[in-house]
């Protein structure tokens, strides 16, 4: 936990907590939904703020590094959607499981990977969280299964993780995320059926940011009520720009699963400021005005900041100090990520198999061989 420095006011000056009205969720096959009020303590608020701000700065730094060609290949940024991964993370336990698709940097951080290891993975260095072997779309840590490149494939995987949770009666759940684009994948409907049939503790979460690459939801889906598309699976539609809304909805969903009621589906309505990836400017299929409107009216970090300041949970100066600390952390992480060496060539052959005696792997011709250790 970070120590928050208070500039000129004492702790006694702030409220310890405040209650907020949050948007009611649309419900599908549910008699009641999550609470429409949320209590947030000062500590929680500061934690949510710092986490979201860290993700925001990390993503903007990645944008910079990509334009400098220090990050290569695919880079799908999460800025604008911070309230989703943070709201989800604070409503589950570290022993619960999370799997998502390729827009994964925010989740990777929320699940515990330090910024420097994320950035170093993006720059392909040996200090990256998977030694530079994975890149942007393939980052993992304990109880976080990536980072998956094939649209929709992570959904059956998530249900499988949920099956493992149920198999040993561990009372854990798996958050299985996908986007509005992926929501039309056949394997997701196969998974809905399997999860409901076998009552798997799987929370399906559709992060609807209105666009699947360059295709708006209206042009891709016959029904854009993603929270209803699980049909026989109960669903809720959540304001994904409000971290408290996401938190309360997730708590509700988690309770549903832990009670053995089977899967549940949450649609988080959110927005990404960047295009689909760094090679998409993001303005050919949507207007700058639209992006600007979301930024000025619905930015998740601004929303939280205003709530905290207006309810005496924190001061503007205090939050500015957090901003400074976050920027410093990101700069240091970027410094590490640009100076750490690339993985040694010997790494090329490693980790083909798990728990296997060393063997040789063929290179580009028959005379070039690499050793493979597990």
């Amino acid at each position: 936990a970070s120590r928050v420095m208070v500039a000129s006011r004492n702790y006694a000056d702030f409220a310890s907590e405040a209650t907020f009205e949050i948007k009611k969720c649309d419900l599908h096959r549910l008699e009641e939904g999550p609470s429409t009020t949320a209590v947030m303590t000062r500590e929680e608020g500061l934690h949510y703020y710092k986490t979201m701000q860290t993700i925001r700065c990390m993503e903007l730094k990645s944008d910079q590094l990509y334009k400098q060609k220090i990050i290569r290949g695919f880079c799908h940024l999460y800025d604008g959607q911070e309230a989703c991964c943070v709201g989800l993370e604070v409503a589950i336990k570290p022993t619960d499981h999370v799997i998502t698709a390729y827009r994964a940097h925010g989740f990777t951080y929320a699940r515990g990977v330090p910024v420097r290891e994320i950035l170093a993975e993006l720059t392909g260095r040996k200090g990256g969280c998977v030694k530079g072997k994975g890149g942007s779309m393939h980052m993992y840590t304990k109880n976080f299964y990536g980072g998956n490149g094939i649209v929709g494939a992570q959904v059956p995987l998530g249900a499988g993780i949920a099956l493992a949770c149920k198999y040993f009666g561990k009372n854990e759940v798996c958050l299985t995320l996908y986007g509005d684009g992926a929501a039309n994948q056949g394997q997701i409907f196969e998974t809905y059926n399997l999860a409901a049939l076998w009552k798997l503790p799987c929370i399906f979460i559709c992060e609807n940011n209105r666009y699947g690459m360059g295709t708006s939801v209206e042009r891709a889906a016959a029904s854009t009520d993603y929270y209803k598309r699980g049909d026989f699976i109960p669903g809720l539609r959540v304001d994904g720009m409000d971290v408290l809304c996401v938190r309360e909805a997730t708590k509700f969903a988690v309770e549903h699963c832990r009670a053995g009621k089977g899967p549940i589906l949450m649609e988080l309505q959110t927005y990404r400021y960047h295009g689909h990836s760094m090679s998409d400017p993001g303005i050919s299929y949507r207007t700058r005005e639209e992006i600007q409107e979301v930024r000025s009216k619905s930015d998740p970090i601004t929303l939280l900041k205003d709530r905290m300041v207006n309810n005496n949970l924190a001061s503007i100066e205090e939050l500015k100090e957090i901003d400074v600390a976050v920027r410093k952390e990101i700069e240091e992480a970027a410094q590490f990520a640009t100076t750490d060496p690339e993985p040694p060539l010997e790494e090329l052959g490693n980790n083909i198999y798990f728990n296997e005696p060393p063997f040789e792997v063929r290179g580009p011709n028959q005379w070039i061989r690499y050793k493979s250790v597990s």
Partner: protein, 328 residues
């Protein structure tokens, strides 16, 4: 004498008993006792938690099996035939095979995908494809192809105990075939090591390399040729990936002639790989004639019996190829 079916059944039974993390899922594996009765009696013995019937959703249940394997379970995922695995091939390759490498070893996927592969009898083009070459192509996977009951039992047990994704290509026409099994092979800890071939018959004039059902055809061809004074060395690959090319090389050094035999299509197949590797290795200089391949015909499998019979490598085709390469 034990049939391949019973050998597989024993292997599943023993491994389900040995490790509670092992479970079997697939279409009809539980209450139907298995589409080909491989899992007969197992649901009755182990129940719903360990033997799971799935709806017809290959991509869904294969993905679920891989997800479960990424956590702490050891699934055996049955494809009713490997033709249906094409529905789920993304989960086998992108989710199972590559994950250990992409995660720098932090996630392992100890899963077995098994089921009948290749031609059967009169089942038509969509149900007769051999997937040895497709799966054998991919790093991160292990691919095994048993012939005898000993192979079937030992390789299935080894595959289940392996911490990596293994594709086990069985053969429907072999399920009912009985083989001798030694005392040792019938013990509960008998495993056949993955990555090691076996010499089924010693010989001096030509090396026949094969996998799965064609191994039997090679032995029949060898018996016929022996009467004419040609002694064939028959190698049963047992594993497609990682392939035991060293054993093939040692044999070619001895016999100076090589014929590969497989059920799959010729282009980019198992035989093509063997030939390429022999060229690259020490055995090339010992070849007295170019290596020869006997394969399935390069067409989708037709239905009429006369046509189908001529699309798979028969004993006469192997004999002809041997005589051609020996120039007799």
């Amino acid at each position: 004498q034990v049939t391949v079916r019973d050998a597989l059944n024993q292997a599943l039974d023993e491994e389900l008993e040995r490790d509670e993390r092992v479970f079997l899922l697939g279409e009809e594996v539980a209450q139907y006792d298995g589409a080909y009765k491989i899992s007969r009696g197992l649901w009755k013995k182990y129940g719903d938690k360990r033997v799971i019937d799935t709806p017809i959703s290959e991509m869904g249940f294969a993905g679920i099996a891989v997800g479960a394997a990424m956590v702490w379970l050891r699934p055996v995922c049955e494809f009713m035939t490997f033709n249906f695995s094409m529905q789920a091939i993304d989960q086998v390759i992108n989710s199972a095979a590559k994950t250990c490498y992409m995660s720098a070893g932090s996630i392992s996927v100890p899963i077995v995908f098994r089921g009948p592969n290749g031609a059967s009898a009169g089942v038509g083009a969509q149900h007769s494809q051999c997937f040895a070459a497709w799966y054998g192509h991919c790093p991160g996977l292990k691919v095994v192809s048993p012939w005898s009951s000993e192979d079937a039992k030992g390789l299935l047990k080894a595959s289940i105990r392996d911490d990596n994704p293994v594709v086990m290509l069985e053969n429907e026409l072999l399920y009912g075939v009985p083989f001798e099994m030694t005392e040792q092979a019938q013990s509960k800890d008998f495993v056949v090591p993955i990555g090691k071939a076996k010499i089924e018959r010693q010989g001096t004039h030509v090396t026949l390399v094969s996998h799965s059902r064609p191994v039997g055809h090679c032995l029949e061809a060898a018996a016929v040729l022996a009467k004419e004074g040609v002694e064939c060395e028959v190698i049963n690959l047992r594993t497609i990936r990682p392939m035991d090319i060293e054993m093939v090389e040692a044999s070619v050094v001895k016999t100076n002639h090589l014929v590969t035999v497989e059920g799959g299509w010729p282009q980019f197949g198992v035989g093509a790989e063997i030939c390429a590797r022999i060229m690259e290795g020490s055995a090339f200089n010992y070849l007295d004639a170019p290596a020869v391949r006997v394969t399935g015909a390069d067409v989708p499998m037709p239905y009429a019996k006369i046509l189908e019979d001529n699309c798979i490598p028969q004993v006469k085709d192997i004999i002809f190829a041997v005589k051609k390469t020996l120039n007799v």
